[in-house]
């Protein structure tokens, strides 16, 4: 179980391969990757602020919950902060289990909690303005299914 909060970019493929190689016995691996995507107005960069003292603790608690709920052989969470360029990976979650339903459920659970309960705030920067991304009611609602 690994949680990494970092400013540096990461390589999705290298991380996925390293994660898979460590999962002896797991038949099912799910990854989710969030990328910086364009917005109306033309995104130039994304700036991600976080709460250093709380971030690792909050995400580790989510991972502990996931491990209690599903039979997982491995979990990886990577989340970046700082300034990110278009199309760069923002974060990724990987889960490994014997059965696909568990790997999928754990990955969705972690994503839902990361969206609304991990202390990150995204700011979108265009050529002429910048604005904080608003939270979505649907993200809050997504938590109710767990």
């Amino acid at each position: 179980m690994s949680v990494r909060i970092q400013a540096e970019p990461f390589d999705l493929g290298a991380e996925a391969n390293a994660f898979a190689a460590a999962q002896a016995g797991a038949g099912a691996i799910v990854t989710f990757t969030g990328l910086v995507r364009d917005i109306a107005g033309g995104l130039q960069a994304m700036e991600i602020e976080h709460y250093p003292g709380m971030t690792q603790k909050a995400i580790s608690a989510m991972v502990d919950q996931a491990v209690l709920r599903w039979h997982l052989t491995g979990v990886l969470v990577i989340h970046r902060h700082g300034r990110l360029a278009m199309s760069e990976p923002i974060m990724m979650v990987a889960t490994a289990a014997s059965h696909r339903a568990e790997a999928f459920a754990a990955a969705e659970f972690l994503m839902d909690y990361l969206k609304s309960r991990a202390p990150f705030w995204k700011k979108e920067i265009t050529a002429t303005s910048s604005g904080w991304v608003a939270s979505k009611d649907t993200d809050e609602q997504a938590l109710s299914r767990w």
């Binding site: 309960r117 705030w121 700011k123 904080w132 608003a134 939270s135």
Partner: protein, 82 residues
């Protein structure tokens, strides 16, 4: 003495990322009232409490929560990670 941290637009409106203050506030709500009374920029930042979240010693909490023994209070908008 208590450390107060601000993030995202709360930080921008108040104009600083953290400060240490001496307060007798019993709850988060009392602390918000005390700060809001102090200067306009606090009043603006705390105007819509429903748009804010609070963490006490790095755990999400409620505005009604007591501050006894708390060393760090953080105010921020709803999180937008992932």
């Amino acid at each position: 003495m208590i450390d107060i941290l601000y993030f995202a637009w709360v930080r921008e409106r108040i104009g600083l990322p953290r400060e240490r203050i001496d307060t007798q506030a019993a709850t988060v709500n009392d602390l918000v009232a005390e700060l809001s009374a102090r200067e306009e920029r606090y009043a603006v930042a705390f105007a819509d409490r429903a748009a804010l979240r609070v963490a006490l010693d790095q755990e999400l909490s409620e505005f009604s929560a007591p501050l006894d023994g708390v060393r760090e209070v953080a105010f921020f908008p709803p999180m937008t990670g992932g």
